[in-house]
């Protein structure tokens, strides 16, 4: 399994042709208490950079962009009752959705963990 990061603070774990997407711990810290997560419909076809999910805090609604193209294969149902998982476990239990990758080459443009760390420190 390999983890990649985007400049919009999404992370994606890739295993085979499936990518699991969430927002980073840094991002959840910036947003504050998450109150609601709008998830994509399973089966939807998405293109890299599309806004496919929205993460709400009390005073903000933030779009989540899919880092890869493909078909949505799963969405984290636990978030319906526990949106706070995105705060408490952003990079694991607070995952948002899974995508079956249609173009694994897209991963080439993403950052690895070390690069993302440098990127966040530069902000």
């Amino acid at each position: 399994m390999t983890r990649y990061f985007t400049e919009d603070h999404e992370w994606i774990d890739v295993e085979g042709d499936t990518g699991t997407v969430g927002i980073t711990d840094y991002a959840q810290g910036q947003l504050g208490d998450i109150t609601f997560v709008e998830l994509p419909e399973v089966g939807a076809s998405v293109s890299k950079g599309d806004s496919v999910s929205v993460v709400d805090s009390v005073k903000a609604a933030s779009d989540v962009y899919t880092p890869v193209s493909g078909a949505v294969s799963d969405a984290n149902a636990a978030l319906a009752d526990q949106p706070e998982l995105v705060n408490t476990d952003a990079e694991k239990g607070g995952w948002l959705f899974r995508v079956t990758l249609s173009d694994p080459a897209e991963l080439g443009g993403l950052m690895d963990e070390a690069a993302y760390k440098v990127y966040v420190e530069s902000l």
């Binding site: 109150t35 609601f36 709008e38 805090s57 009390v58 005073k59 903000a60 609604a61």
Partner: protein, 452 residues
């Protein structure tokens, strides 16, 4: 000037503090050629309270007010008795002169009222939840159509022929710009509402059907049958209630399967006011909450654990979501919601039921008396407090002639549907608890005179 507290001495002292020679120095950013040298031309100078009162009272005297003559108008605005205490409450400065409750620690009065209002509207409509108000019934109706389209991701809307024509016009006007597909069924002079036509018009591509209940001719559609048909095709039912007092007597739309119920709340607490400000009511199923337009008040606790209320789910709204908001509405009808809520609190459920029964009884007395006039007949098979009478000639002229005889005798269908020639003999007549036997008799006598 009585509303301006600064004295000349204050102004001079303040300019000195600011470091400006004159107030004109504070307007330096305005290009000189755009600055007016003095007061705007063609307008009067300031006037005393007494003088203004004289001017306004003279204008008011040019109108015939409903309470001064036999009065039978409805068509989406109803004259009910408003208890004196309602107006007293809404004139309390703490309610009247407060802003939208964005600082909840010092706005619990307004917020608790909104929470009570939302609960009252939801219970009255038979919906799970309700919002903190919209501008009026017609704009609430359009917002409901947009909301249904977001939920169903379909774009075709069917409007019953029983929908108030102003509401229909608002929808058609807005839809022309948003490219939504609106199917408007015709309004026909039939004793039964157009339920069958509504059901026949629902297709797989239909997002919502809009059904007024009771409808604009006073008929009562079978919401349960329409809801069953809509559900089978994946369409939502939007019920429109322009006379909420009716729901004291007839079943709540939510209990009959309506998914979204919108309405005009003017009947309770607000008064006629020549059409505004009125009160948009908006209730729906709880699962649609994130697609609702308008403000929502929710219960929570404060840092000491005490119950309190806040505006919530604001991420739907324009001040956060901007161009992705569910609506552009900001200011709503807060004070009218308070008036509605006070009136409904004074009535209670049983009081509302009794009021509704009296309204219906007064309407029966009116319709029975008027339909005894030769050439006049009742259209409706069922009605609440408003029904359509068929006259032997164009009702527009009849209404104008009645007004000359100091009777405000209903709303002509020609005024409401100018392009539908087949409706022009129709006269909408409403009665409420304010209608006396003497009013009915005067109306009947003058109508006999006009038709003779």
């Amino acid at each position: 000037m009585r509303y301006l507290p600064l004295t000349e001495a204050d102004r001079a002292a303040m300019l000195e503090t600011i470091g400006a020679a004159s107030v004109d120095d504070l307007f330096v950013d305005v290009p000189a050629e755009a600055r007016l040298a003095g007061p705007v031309d063609g307008l009067p100078m300031h006037a005393s309270e007494m003088a203004v009162e004289r001017h306004m009272t003279a204008l008011a005297a040019k109108n015939i007010n409903a309470g001064s003559v036999p009065f039978f108008l409805g068509a989406g605005a109803y004259r009910h008795h408003v208890p004196a205490s309602v107006d007293h409450v809404i004139q309390r400065g703490e309610f009247l002169t407060a802003y939208t409750p964005y600082q909840p620690e010092i706005a619990q009065g307004t917020l608790q009222v909104l929470f009570e209002f939302q609960t009252q509207v939801a219970r009255l409509f038979g919906t799970d939840i309700a919002n903190a108000s919209m501008y009026d019934g017609s704009t609430a109706c359009w917002e409901a159509i947009l909301m249904a389209a977001r939920i169903t991701r379909k774009g075709r809307t069917v409007l019953s022929g029983g929908l108030h024509p102003h509401y229909g016009e608002v929808v058609r006007t807005m839809a022309r710009f948003t490219q939504d597909n609106i199917v408007s069924l015709p309004t026909e002079l039939s004793g039964e509402p157009d339920d069958a036509a509504v059901i026949a018009a629902i297709g797989e591509d239909t997002s919502s059907v809009v059904v007024q209940y009771p409808d604009v001719l006073g008929r009562i559609p079978d919401l349960a049958a329409i809801s069953d048909a809509a559900r089978a095709k994946g369409a939502l039912v939007i019920a429109v209630v322009t006379e909420p007092v009716a729901l004291g007597l007839i079943e709540a739309p939510g209990n009959l399967g309506a998914d979204i119920v919108v309405g005009e709340g003017q009947s309770l607490g607000v008064g006629l006011q020549f059409g505004g400000p009125y009160l948009g009511l908006f209730g729906c199923r709880e699962k649609f909450v994130r697609q609702m337009p308008g403000r929502l008040c929710g219960e929570t606790v404060d840092a000491e654990g005490k119950r309190g209320f806040v505006l919530t789910l604001s991420t739907r709204e324009q001040h956060i979501r901007r161009e992705k908001a569910t609506s552009n509405i900001c200011t709503n009808s807060g004070l009218c919601a308070l008036a509605f809520s006070v009136h409904l609190t004074l009535l209670g459920g049983e009081g509302l039921a009794r009021l509704a029964a009296v309204n219906h009884a007064r309407a029966q007395a009116t319709v029975e008396r008027l339909s005894r006039i030769p050439g006049v007949s009742l259209l409706n098979q069922a009605y609440f407090n408003e029904a359509t009478l068929i006259l032997p000639r164009d009702a527009r002229e009849v209404v104008r002639e009645l007004a000359e005889r100091k009777v405000l005798g209903g709303v002509s269908l020609g005024r409401l549907f100018p392009e539908a020639d087949g409706l022009h003999h129709g006269l909408l007549v409403a009665a409420t608890e304010t209608t006396t036997d003497e009013d009915i008799e005067s109306f009947a006598k003058e109508l006999e005179g006009v038709l003779a």
